[in-house]
């Protein structure tokens, strides 16, 4: 018995250690952001600087129009995430209602799309956006939302909707509900964990997307937060407290969202 209890203590210790190790990048990012600007960088190891300041967080807004970039990022996420939820859950729902053989065909198609490397689409998407007039507009950043952002999300919804018993769909249809109503009243409420999961994943994707603005934007007025961070890096390469403050701002939004949603997933997982 003593052996197994010391064993479980060892496991707990290992778990805590690993969790701490994975938090290190973010911890180092935050502590660097709290250093007073311009102070000589110390070469002693200490987690917290001797003087803590929030100055960097106010300084960074004056150097680049971070506020506008933040608004642009919020605009992109505000359109792209709801659109993703609608298109990916529609697709997942329709596939789950098809006869089995067609279901398989759609899944293979989705898997094939999933396997296309993004790099291979960069230059030709650029040409297509130019033809459509989306080049150098915010729509170039939102475009993937029209296809549910990723077939991965479609498959997540498909999985969730398939687990709903057929009889529930049938009885809704007998009550005179159309496809759209069945989707909204029955399928979506039951698949809430999936909806929240897809919303979170697509939020993280659009919020952090650096490649689309890099390739498809030219005007500074459309720049999003990741581009702002890059501009800041090019301006003052060695002002680490400032750079880390900007990095913390960009990370804070998805992090808070994740921490808010996390207990919900833990509950679902426990059942």
């Amino acid at each position: 018995m003593t052996r197994s209890s010391s064993n479980s203590k060892l496991r707990l210790g290992l778990r805590l250690l690993v969790a701490g190790l994975f938090l290190l990048p973010i911890i180092w990012m935050v502590t660097a952001a709290l250093r007073p600007p311009g102070s000589p960088l110390s070469s002693s190891i200490r987690l917290l600087p001797t003087r803590i300041t929030l100055q960097n967080f106010s300084r960074v807004w004056q150097l680049v129009p971070l506020g506008r970039y933040l608004l642009n990022s919020l605009l992109v996420v505000g359109i792209a995430v709801p659109l993703t939820l609608v298109t990916s859950s529609w697709a997942g729902f329709s596939i789950s209602q098809l006869p089995l053989s067609s279901q398989r065909r759609w899944i293979i198609l989705s898997l094939a799309v999933l396997m296309v490397p993004g790099v291979a689409l960069w230059s030709t998407r650029f040409l297509i956006f130019k033809i459509l007039g989306w080049y150098n507009t915010i729509w170039a950043l939102i475009a993937p939302a029209w296809m549910g952002t990723s077939p991965f999300y479609v498959l997540m919804f498909y999985r969730a909707f398939r687990r709903i018993p057929r009889e529930m769909y049938e009885s809704a249809r007998l009550d005179g509900a159309g496809v759209l109503q069945t989707w909204r009243r029955i399928a979506l409420p039951i698949a809430r964990p999936t909806t929240i999961g897809v919303a979170l994943l697509s939020f993280i994707f659009y919020w952090g997307d650096f490649i689309s603005p890099l390739l498809y934007l030219r005007s500074e007025k459309y720049y999003t937060l990741p581009v702002g961070l890059q501009l800041l890096q090019q301006m003052g390469y060695s002002d680490w407290p400032l750079l880390m403050a900007a990095a913390v701002i960009a990370t804070a939004v998805p992090l808070v969202l994740f921490l808010l949603v996390q207990p919900f997933f833990a509950r679902v997982d426990g059942n």
Partner: protein, 286 residues
């Protein structure tokens, strides 16, 4: 009917661009003047380009090499965090957190962490008397640094492994335990082989994704250097199409990427057929 946006979307954003990139490889095209037929010239130019071959090698060593490490790491961590409980759900969350950080912020954070003089990692290395590398300014340690960076972002593999572990019947392990098998033995002989197909699928998906995701990290930290030591295929394609406006040669390089992907899909298909993955409800995670 509700499938229309999805179908149109993949047509416009995936299939047409993919088809275009196949055909443009035969033309000289700069997006300004109309395309001119070029035959196989782009292929010859690209495949004899030293930089292209170097970027191919770097892609393999920088992106493909860490993949088994990432997947196995994610799986071992999932195994460690497999229990239920409030504390452990927060510990799990902390493993996922590095994957939430926007890629640019993540790259900047590592530029700071690996700063040769003042970065926290080198301070620690010096304090315990180890050699402190120059990280991003030395060809070999720059590669190491990029691999190190990628090892912290394994959230997706971690979640998929957790889900897969939860789907395996606990009776199998219990039976082995009653027979007196040691827990490490059970792990290597029963759990791991049982989940091997999923881990393989995960590895392939990870390889394809990593190729693209490493782009931002490389662009911000080393920009392909020093001496092209971290110059990978996405950087080659980016440079050809957006700096040199040479869409033809970029597309010729893409043929190589497609060939590589095609090979991966073929292997995937064989594996899937062998183990019946993707034919049951629960394995569509991947």
């Amino acid at each position: 009917m509700l499938l229309i946006p999805y179908l149109l979307g993949i047509l416009l954003l995936v299939f047409i661009p993919a088809a275009l990139s196949f055909t443009i490889a035969f033309f000289k095209y700069d997006a300004l003047s109309p395309p001119v037929w070029a035959g196989e010239l782009n292929f010859i130019l690209t495949y004899t380009d030293e930089l292209f071959n170097l970027s191919m090698q770097n892609s393999l060593s920088l992106v493909i090499l860490p993949v088994p490490l990432r997947v196995l790491g994610a799986f071992l961590l999932a195994r460690l965090m497999q229990r239920k409980g409030r504390l452990i759900s927060w510990l799990r969350a902390s493993i996922y957190i590095p994957s939430i950080i926007p890629s640019v912020a993540y790259a900047l954070a590592w530029l700071w962490i690996l700063n040769p003089l003042f970065g926290p990692l080198n301070l620690i290395l010096r304090a315990i008397g180890l050699a402190a590398p120059n990280w991003f300014s030395d060809p070999l340690s720059a590669k190491l640094a990029l691999i190190l960076m990628s090892l912290w972002q394994i959230g997706e593999g971690f979640l998929v492994s957790l889900a897969a572990l939860q789907d395996t019947p606990p009776e199998l392990e219990d039976a082995a335990r009653i027979d007196g098998a040691a827990s490490w033995h059970i792990f290597w002989r029963i759990t791991l082989p049982l989940l091997a197909p999923i881990l393989l699928l995960l590895s392939f998906r990870d390889a394809i994704l990593a190729l693209q995701e490493s782009f931002t990290a490389i662009l911000l930290t080393t920009n392909g250097g020093p001496y092209y030591a971290t110059f990978t295929l996405p950087l080659f394609v980016y440079e050809q199409s957006f700096d040199l406006l040479s869409f033809g040669t970029a597309s010729a390089a893409l043929w190589a990427i497609y060939a590589l992907t095609g090979l991966i899909i073929l292997v995937l298909y064989v594996i899937a057929a062998q183990w019946n993955i993707g034919t049951t409800d629960d394995t569509f995670i991947i």
